[in-house]
């Protein structure tokens, strides 16, 4: 257990290998009005690897993901308890600027949700609002972001076309490059492939594999094969509780908890 002392600020706790802790969650509870969606969840997400969150619908895994960049803030009547530290800094501290936080923790959603703008403008949107680049620098940044999302070759001739003209898989990669354009430290993915066909899913998975060299990735998925394929660590949620968290190989082959075993072997959920 990590010391809760604020003065220590454990920026990167060495744990089992060379990966330091990027995000540390302690006793996180979340309420939609009276309903408690997360119950005392504690876990550590390590940097530059993929952490998968699995569990049946309504188990709180998406809510947990959205707690990491404070997207739950926009829900009326919602309440968060507990501590979430990003690089040792409590993101729920009143002094924290949500805008700055979300610059560091990007998010990709379940359904591709490009803006009603051109391909270029979609990627340029966030760098513009944060004043990162303009003119030819911006063009370079957009190109670079599209390359990192493995989309450049497919869209380089239609940067001015509407983002809605792209296929679903391309749209999702566009949403990923939109996030990469502000170079966040963490990328949260909320079932990024659930609206995509198998070929597009494969492309996104390959992309995630590349991205983990540089980014800390947390992915929520309904697809257990996907979690097993892409992630190094996996957490299993049930009824708002984190039942089990550990190396993916262990979770999927030799889970400690009976409920985890029932779920990963397809006995329910």
């Amino acid at each position: 257990m990590v010391s809760a002392s604020a003065s220590l600020r454990p920026a990167s706790l060495p744990r089992q290998g060379d990966r330091g802790t990027k995000i540390e969650v302690e006793h996180l509870s979340f309420y939609y009005g009276r309903f408690q969606a997360l119950k005392d969840v504690s876990l550590a997400i390590r940097e530059r690897q993929i952490t998968a969150l699995i569990g049946p619908s309504g188990c709180g895994k998406s809510t947990f993901l959205r707690a990491l960049n404070r997207m739950n803030d926009i829900i009326e009547g919602a309440r968060t308890e507990g501590v979430v530290r990003l690089d040792g800094e409590d993101i729920y501290d009143p002094a924290v600027d949500v805008v700055a936080l979300r610059r560091r923790v990007g998010m990709v959603f379940q359904r591709p949700n490009p803006f009603p703008m051109s391909v270029f403008e979609n990627v340029a949107y966030a760098p513009r609002i944060h004043g990162l680049a303009r003119g030819s620098d911006l063009e370079e940044l957009v190109e670079d972001s599209l390359k990192r999302a493995a989309l450049w070759e497919e869209v380089k001739d239609k940067l001015k076309a509407s983002a809605f003209e792209l296929s679903g898989g391309q749209q999702q990669r566009l949403c990923i490059s939109r996030v990469l354009a502000i170079d966040p430290a963490v990328v949260l993915m909320d079932e990024p492939c659930s609206a995509l066909d198998p070929a597009s899913t494969l492309r996104i998975e390959e992309l995630m594999h590349e991205l983990q060299q540089k980014y800390t990735i947390v992915i929520v998925t309904h697809n257990m094969q996907q979690a097993a394929r892409v992630s190094q660590e996996t957490g299993f949620f049930l009824h708002g509780e984190l039942i089990e968290f550990g190396p993916s190989a262990m979770i999927f082959t030799d889970p400690t908890d009976k409920r985890t075993e029932d779920y990963v072997t397809g006995r329910f959920g």
Binding site: I74, M107, N113, Y125, I129, S162, R178
Partner: protein, 290 residues
């Protein structure tokens, strides 16, 4: 299948087909009934107004009543200025109000605004005219384009506000989330993403409002008044097509009537051109696929 059962099935099918064609016929009839008056109005305005249209009509000032010839150049320009002034009042208030109702409108204050706006959209235009007359014309001791623009602007607000609200509400939450998750503020999200996505619908609302006020004569009689001269100063009485139509239509001279029809035709065309232009300017290149 027995012969009897087969006959019954055939009968059922026959009845179903008969019901189907009957309903189709009734539906088509209703559509025709809805379109017919519109067609007649357009045809009549065109047939009656076309003969009065000539270069003079667009370039000359009105002749004194009873004298043939002359045009309505001042009223055409006046109408455009009045609609412009009205938009200056009605669009910012309507659009920003609509955004407020859609984005923050979950409280008693917003509920009250919504109710009042619905009431306002039902208020007869002449009453709006009297209101502006009392608020602007009486204190300034003069009918003016300003007062006319204010009256028309007030009339625009409910239409623009409620359509903006509805359309902004329709923008999927996922778009807002995408913008917010990239570190955009709520303000930027609304103006750069939500409004852009709702643009087509908002324009439709604005056009509806403009079309409605462009043809209003009653409130202008009490606010902008009329003038046989060039009048581009908004602190002076300002002529307009609807008021001119009214003035000419009640004259006993055939030439006046022809002028009134021509003015009606110009008014209809003006609204039509405005609609097409606005649609073209904001056409949905980035239309959302639903």
């Amino acid at each position: 299948m027995s012969a009897l059962a087969a006959r019954r099935a055939g009968l059922q099918q026959l009845r179903r087909r008969a019901a189907n064609s009957t309903m189709w016929f009734v539906a088509v009839l209703c559509v025709l009934a809805a379109i017919l008056p519109l067609g007649f109005v357009l045809y009549y305005v065109l047939a009656q107004g076309a003969s009065g249209i000539n270069l003079d009509f667009f370039t000359k000032l009105p002749k004194p009543v009873g004298e043939p010839g002359g045009g309505m150049a001042n009223a055409i320009v006046g109408s455009l200025i009045l609609v412009g002034l009205a938009s200056l009042v009605g669009l910012p208030v309507g659009i920003l109000g609509g955004i407020y109702l859609a984005e923050f409108g979950n409280n008693r204050f917003a509920w009250t605004i919504r109710f009042l706006s619905d009431v306002l959209s039902g208020v007869p235009s002449i009453v709006v005219g009297i209101f502006i007359w009392a608020m602007v014309v009486v204190p300034t001791h003069r009918l003016s384009g300003m007062a006319g623009g204010a009256a028309l602007g007030v009339m625009m607000i409910p239409t623009v506000m409620r359509t903006t609200e509805e359309l902004v509400r329709l923008v999927p939450m996922s778009l807002r989330e995408a913008s917010l998750s990239l570190g955009a503020t709520h303000r930027r999200t609304v103006f750069k993403v939500v409004l852009v996505a709702a643009r087509g619908g908002v324009v439709t609302g604005v056009l509806l409002a403009v079309s409605r006020i462009a043809g209003e004569a009653a409130p202008l009689l009490l606010t902008a008044g009329s003038s046989p001269f060039w009048s581009t100063r908004i602190d002076q009485p300002m002529p307009s097509l609807p008021v001119q139509i009214f003035t000419y239509a009640i004259q006993p001279y055939d030439d006046c009537h022809r002028q009134a029809w021509a003015a009606a035709l110009v008014l209809v065309s003006l609204v039509f051109v405005l609609s097409v232009a606005a649609r073209y300017a904001t056409r949905g290149r980035f239309r959302m696929v639903r």
